[in-house]
């Protein structure tokens, strides 16, 4: 299967750890992906917030390039990007008038046939649990891991078609593969504030605070995510939240690829775990002692 | 080609020898190399006569309605994708039971028009096959007990499908123009009822034209009676006709009957999303209804 890779802007910037760790584990898993040539930004939340058609057209260019390059499916690790790509694909499948307009503007054909996978679908569907399990060299037994899904992976279910939208378990299943214990808690799919990170930090610290304290209460050692935006809010803003509520949290936020990498026995440095704002030292030490 | 015939003959021999069927309906070479005609095999030693090729036009399902065929009980029949649809309708309408029939499906990529074949045409192409083959979406029989694969290449099509174009052309005419068109066509009709005889789905034991209390249809050769017959034939086949084209092939005066049948099939698909003959378990379009059926034409 020919797999296209759509990194998106975050993985090239603030969430570089995600890309580093992804490429590393794929190397170990011996799976080849090809970055979509000359890809562009999907428009993220900004486009669909104020210009619906643009929010379809921008991702469509990437879909069309991949499709015309003979790829069967796209891996979009960023939850926001995969959400936008899936939404655009859905709209183009259901709205012929818009499709004609977009194809015209792109100047290249597009059949709306290419498949889009987010990171979790990719890992459990394309890579497969058996393969992952076979690579686990350093089981993370006893480590308590909370999986945080957020909004963009699961909603709207009509388009995302991902797991149970109210009680997803796909990431927990992956966590269990590493030998760690998935932690059940209430705020799995609550919103972290997302795009308001820059424009409305107050809202973000409130929402993210709710999530972090709930996970803390359920005794997790760390949190795994599959979304740069979530990661950024949970990680970068954690100090600020601690200050706002006057209560220490100290939960390292790892990308799911990093957790898998650790269980594969990969050196944390190669997974860029030191790139996070909240240090994972304690957890890494705990893993070392396992 | 020989390969297909061998396979066909082996299946037939096995069926007859094991007494699973007592009659096989198939094709055999005709008087002319480019003509195939139906053959009825009852003895294993005769299976060598069976053959199939791109000249096997006729829909053999038509014989299933005949009393003299019915009395054989269990029957094996050679069907193309289009013929299999006729079988499906016959089963939907309880005229044939699945247990009594062994379906020897043959994959078909089109049959050559008889008029061209008689002139020696042997190439399969968009220009040599019957119109029905151009519209065919079911080259391979779906329901079958045996399936023989086809050696013929798929016809490449220009995408411009003639039969649809003709329907659209007529649709765009005024009613006067249509009237003129059909009057001319129906004028030719000699009420020979060959269309009925050739149709695998016209199986009534007493056709409505033969009912005289009341006299539903004028049986003379008048303009009205001709139109009435052609109308009722099309109406009774609406939602049932599987487009085998046998009626048109049988018509001695070349009335474009498939034009009417095609229009009906299209209307039915447009209005009710139904295509006949595709699913033996489907409910016939006029045996069911939906509360949300098309209602715009009713005040």
């Amino acid at each position: 299967m020919k797999l296209a890779y759509y990194p998106g802007c975050s993985l090239k910037g603030t969430s570089f750890e995600y890309e580093v760790s992804l490429l590393k584990i794929l190397e170990v898993l011996n799976i080849e992906i090809k970055e979509i040539p000359d890809w562009n930004c999907c428009g993220a939340s900004a486009a669909h917030s104020i210009n619906h058609n643009l929010s379809v057209a921008l991702p469509a260019r990437n879909l069309a390039i991949a499709e015309n390059g003979g790829y069967e499916s796209i891996l979009a690790p960023c939850a926001a990007c995969s959400n936008r790509l899936k939404t655009a694909s859905y709209e183009l499948k259901t709205d012929d008038i818009l499709k004609d307009k977009v194809v015209n503007s792109l100047g290249m054909p597009y059949a709306a046939g290419i498949d889009i996978n987010n990171m979790l679908e990719f890992l459990s569907g394309v890579v497969g649990e058996d393969k992952i399990k076979s690579m686990v060299k350093k089981p993370l037994n006893g480590l308590k891991v909370a999986s945080y899904y957020g909004c963009l992976l699961v909603r709207p279910p009509k388009i995302m078609q991902f797991d149970d939208p109210e009680n997803p378990v796909l990431m927990d299943d992956l966590v269990a593969l590493t030998g760690a214990d998935p932690v059940d808690y209430s705020y799995k799919t609550e919103c972290c504030g997302a795009i308001n990170s820059l424009s409305n930090p107050d809202v973000v610290t409130t929402l993210t605070g709710n999530i972090l304290y709930d996970i803390k209460k359920h005794g997790a050692d760390l949190i795994v995510v599959a979304c740069p935006l979530c990661h950024s809010n949970l990680d970068v803003r954690q100090r600020e939240i601690e200050r706002k509520y006057g209560e220490k949290i100290g939960l390292p936020i790892l990308f799911v690829t990093e957790l898998l990498g650790l269980s594969f026995g990969i050196d944390p440095k190669d997974l860029a775990i030191d790139g996070h704002m909240v240090a994972a030292d304690k957890v890494l030490k705990k893993i070392k002692e396992l | 080609m020989a390969n297909i015939d061998e396979k066909l003959q082996k299946i037939a021999r096995d069926l007859l020898e094991s007494k699973e069927v007592s009659l096989i309906i198939g094709y055999t070479g005709g008087s002319h190399p480019q003509r195939m005609r139906p053959v009825f095999i009852t003895k294993p030693e005769d299976v060598g006569r069976l053959s199939f090729n791109r000249h096997s036009v006729q829909d053999l399902a038509v014989f299933l309605k005949k009393q003299e065929v019915k009395k054989f009980g269990r029957i094996g029949i050679v069907v193309k994708g289009c013929d299999e649809k006729a079988l499906n309708v016959l089963m939907q309408e309880y005229q044939v039971s699945r247990e009594n029939i062994k379906i020897i499906g043959v994959e078909c990529n089109g049959v050559i028009r008889q008029d061209l074949a008689d002139k020696g045409e042997t190439d399969l192409s968009e220009n040599t096959v019957y119109d029905k083959c151009l519209m065919c979406g079911e080259h391979t029989p779906i329901l079958h007990d045996y399936l023989i694969e086809c050696a013929d290449p798929q016809i490449s099509m220009s995408g411009d499908i003639k039969p649809f174009a003709k329907i659209e052309e007529l649709d765009s005419m005024s009613s006067e123009e249509k009237d003129v068109f059909w009057e001319k066509e129906f004028d030719k009709c000699i009420k020979c009822y060959a269309c009925r005889q050739a149709c695998p789905l016209c199986y009534c034991s007493r056709c409505i034209v033969e009912k005289n209390v009341p006299q539903w249809i004028d049986t003379n050769f008048g303009k009205i009676g001709n139109a009435q017959w052609n109308l009722i034939r099309a109406y009774h086949l609406a939602g049932r006709c599987i487009g085998c084209g046998e009626c048109e092939r049988a018509c001695p005066v070349n009335i474009p009957l498939m034009l009417i049948n095609g229009k009906m099939a299209r209307s039915i698909h447009d209005l009710f999303g139904y295509k006949s003959g595709l699913d033996v378990d489907a409910k016939p379009v006029f045996g069911v209804f939906s509360e949300s059926d098309f209602n715009d034409f009713i005040k």
Partner: protein
């Protein structure tokens, strides 16, 4: 040769004022076959009818046409007059020259010519009329009631009290249905088992009722007056006539863990040999072979057999099929609740203290798992705060059903009220969208729950429920104040909506009655025949037809009973003879007629030769079921089927008689 009489009515000046009745009369007399044409001032008057009778007699008429008012007015009057002279009533036809001519047109000449046309059409029709005998179907005066809930019980008792034998078939080991699961009932708060148990006992003791519990109807054929039915008595493993209901068997049964009690909606366990509840009727246990150790472990466990005094436990009992014939059937199959687990956001199944309305009934009930003390399932603590959520599953086309379940507003108000009565100092919050309390005393009841019992009603739905340190956090909205509302509660009760009983569609298919897209049985006419199903002789009752409360269920049970008693008040069921008939010679059995018949009146009939060999199959019309609508005629290609009174040749004659 036809001998037709035409009678033109003046209707005073009603007709004669606009139609030249003499002209109509004269034109009539010119039509071949008409032997008498007269006009008269009022044909419907006694002298008018007498003159009609006289002419029939004197001229030995074979057919009568009245050019008069609408057939909907006096067709029957004239037909009766004809019968008195020995003329088959179907030889009387009416040309409607009043409602459809004289009253709607002004131009006398044109109106007259239209009247002549209509009269001529009817003359041509009557010439082709055939004698039709009304169909009489003998009635087997016995009734089958399917379902032993309140509506089935009511129907059975009413019918039995009317002197007719009843077979009451119930799937569960006891009758009582859903109502016996309820605690107290709105709006009067009488205890459900107190009013229900006497009725159940009455059923059991009634000489006219034969009770089949733990049984199912497996086959129904035939038609009104004469249904052949098969009842499967499932192997109960207990010989019913010997059992005393002492309880020794279930008291010793080792399987008292892990099997959830259906009656208590999974809130408690039951044994393998069990009665669903102590007041069960009959008080005879059934042995659930799917969980019984005797059956699972190769016959080792025989504890119940050992404990049984009369030794009435028989592990070898088999399913038994009972065949019966009945004249009428009541379908009262009842309801189920919508699956709450569809609502991941409410955590039903994940959080133990989120329960359904029916589970809460069991928690309130003195016969329930907590003996009527409100305790929450997770830890048995008494909840102080309960949040009730209405419209769970109902009015929800996305996950549930679009319709309103009708009873939830009321039972939630009742729950909140009873909770307030049972737990002092407690607080209820009710999330609702609309409150539907429209029967007698209902609105007052809901107001009472708010005003006297202090329940707080919030207008809005709940989006999500979390568990947090032993509390359930409810995230809802109150749209009236425009706020998001968060409540920490000890328990949540979901006012789950209702759907037809699982398997009721199969019952409908067996009975040949129609049901809607949700599975509720449809009435023959939604307003005027709300008790009848689409099939003659089969009546409907209770929630099987749609959401309704107890009084309505009882009413519907009684209504079905009264219809059946009315039907059985005669020895024969008489239907009009204008029904379909098949020409067997030309039928090819394509059965399009059967597909379009809404009354299941058409079936296949084998035609055999003298030696019994099957020659062919043809369509056959059941006269007890056919109503003569003629849909089959329209479906028949070869015109092999026709409907009496409106035969094709008659209609063609009408068309062809017109002068243009």
């Amino acid at each position: 040769m036809s001998r037709i009489g035409v009678f033109v009515c003046w209707c005073g000046s009603n007709i004669a004022g606009t139609v030249d009745v003499e002209k109509v009369r004269d034109e009539a007399s010119k039509i071949p076959g008409v032997v008498s044409a007269v006009d008269y001032k009022y044909m419907c008057s006694d002298p008018g009818q007498n003159s009609l009778r006289n002419v029939i007699k004197e001229k030995n008429l074979t057919g009568v046409v009245l050019a008069a008012c609408s057939p909907h007015m006096h067709e029957n009057t004239f037909r009766k007059a004809a019968i008195k002279e020995g003329l088959n009533p179907y030889f009387v036809e009416i040309a409607n020259i009043r409602e459809q001519v004289s009253w709607v047109h002004d131009d006398k000449e044109r109106a007259t010519s239209k009247a002549v046309d209509l009269m001529t059409m009817m003359v041509e029709k009557v010439k082709r009329d055939r004698s039709i005998d009304d169909v009489k179907v003998p009635l087997h005066k016995k009734t089958l009631v399917i379902g032993g809930g309140i509506s089935g019980i009511q129907a059975a008792l009413d019918i039995a009290n009317g002197g007719v034998e009843v077979l009451l078939v119930e799937k569960e080991p006891s009758i009582g249905g859903r109502m016996i699961q309820l605690d107290e009932t709105f709006p009067t708060l009488d205890c459900s088992s107190c009013i229900m148990t006497p009725k159940m006992v009455e059923v059991n003791q009634h000489p006219n009722i034969k009770l089949y519990t733990y049984s199912e109807v497996t086959d129904v054929s035939g038609y009104i007056g004469n249904f052949k039915i098969k009842i499967k008595k499932k192997a109960r493993s207990v010989v019913e006539k010997d059992c005393t209901g002492c309880g020794n068997c279930w008291n010793v049964c080792p399987m008292h863990k892990n099997v959830k009690s259906e009656f208590n909606v999974n809130l408690s366990e039951r044994t393998a040999i069990y009665v669903p509840f102590p007041q069960a009727v009959p008080l005879i246990p059934a042995l659930d072979r799917a969980v019984c150790l005797h059956f699972k472990k190769g016959g080792k466990c025989v504890k119940c057999y050992e404990a049984c005094g009369p030794k009435c436990i028989d592990f070898n009992l088999q399913d038994e099929i009972v065949e019966e014939t009945v004249g009428a059937i009541v379908a009262a199959t009842g309801y189920d609740l919508i699956e709450n687990s569809l609502y991941g956001e409410y955590g039903y199944g994940k959080y133990k203290d989120v329960v359904s309305g029916l589970q809460f009934e069991r928690l309130l009930s003195a016969s329930g798992p907590t003996e009527g003390l409100v305790k929450r399932p997770s830890d048995g603590a008494t909840p102080k705060t309960i949040v009730f959520i209405q419209c769970v599953g109902s009015r929800d086309p996305e996950k549930g059903v679009p319709y309103c379940s009708k009873v939830c507003c009321m039972y939630t108000a009742k729950h909140a009220k009873l909770f307030a009565h049972k737990v002092h100092g407690s607080q209820s919050y009710v999330f609702y969208i609309d409150i539907r309390a429209t029967s007698k005393g209902y609105e007052e009841f809901v107001r009472g729950t708010m005003e006297q019992d202090g329940a707080i009603y919030l207008r809005g739905r709940v989006s999500r429920i979390y568990e947090d340190e032993g509390k359930l956090i409810i995230k809802g909205a109150d749209t009236l104040s425009g706020n998001q509302v968060e409540i920490a509660a000890d328990m949540v009760v979901l006012a789950t909506g209702v759907i037809p009983k699982k398997g009721s569609d199969k019952v409908a298919q067996m009975l040949g009655i129609s049901y809607d897209k949700y599975g509720f049985y449809t009435e023959s006419h939604p307003k005027l025949r709300p008790t009848e199903s689409s099939t003659a002789g089969i009546f409907l009752a209770g929630m099987a037809q749609g959401p309704r409360d107890i009084p309505e269920s009882v009413v519907s049970g009684s209504a079905a009973a009264s219809k059946i008693l009315g039907l059985f008040s005669k020895d024969e069921y008489e239907v009009e003879g204008t029904i379909a008939s098949v020409n067997e010679a030309t039928c090819v059995a394509c059965f399009y007629c059967r597909r379009v018949c809404a009354y299941n009146a058409i079936s296949g009939k084998d035609i055999k030769d003298r030696s019994g060999k099957l020659i062919k199959v043809v369509a056959n019309v059941n006269p007890g079921l056919c109503v003569g609508c003629g849909a089959c005629v329209n479906a028949c290609f070869s015109k092999t089927i026709d409907v009496k009174g409106f035969m094709d040749d008659q209609i063609y004659a009408e068309i062809r008689s017109l002068s243009v």
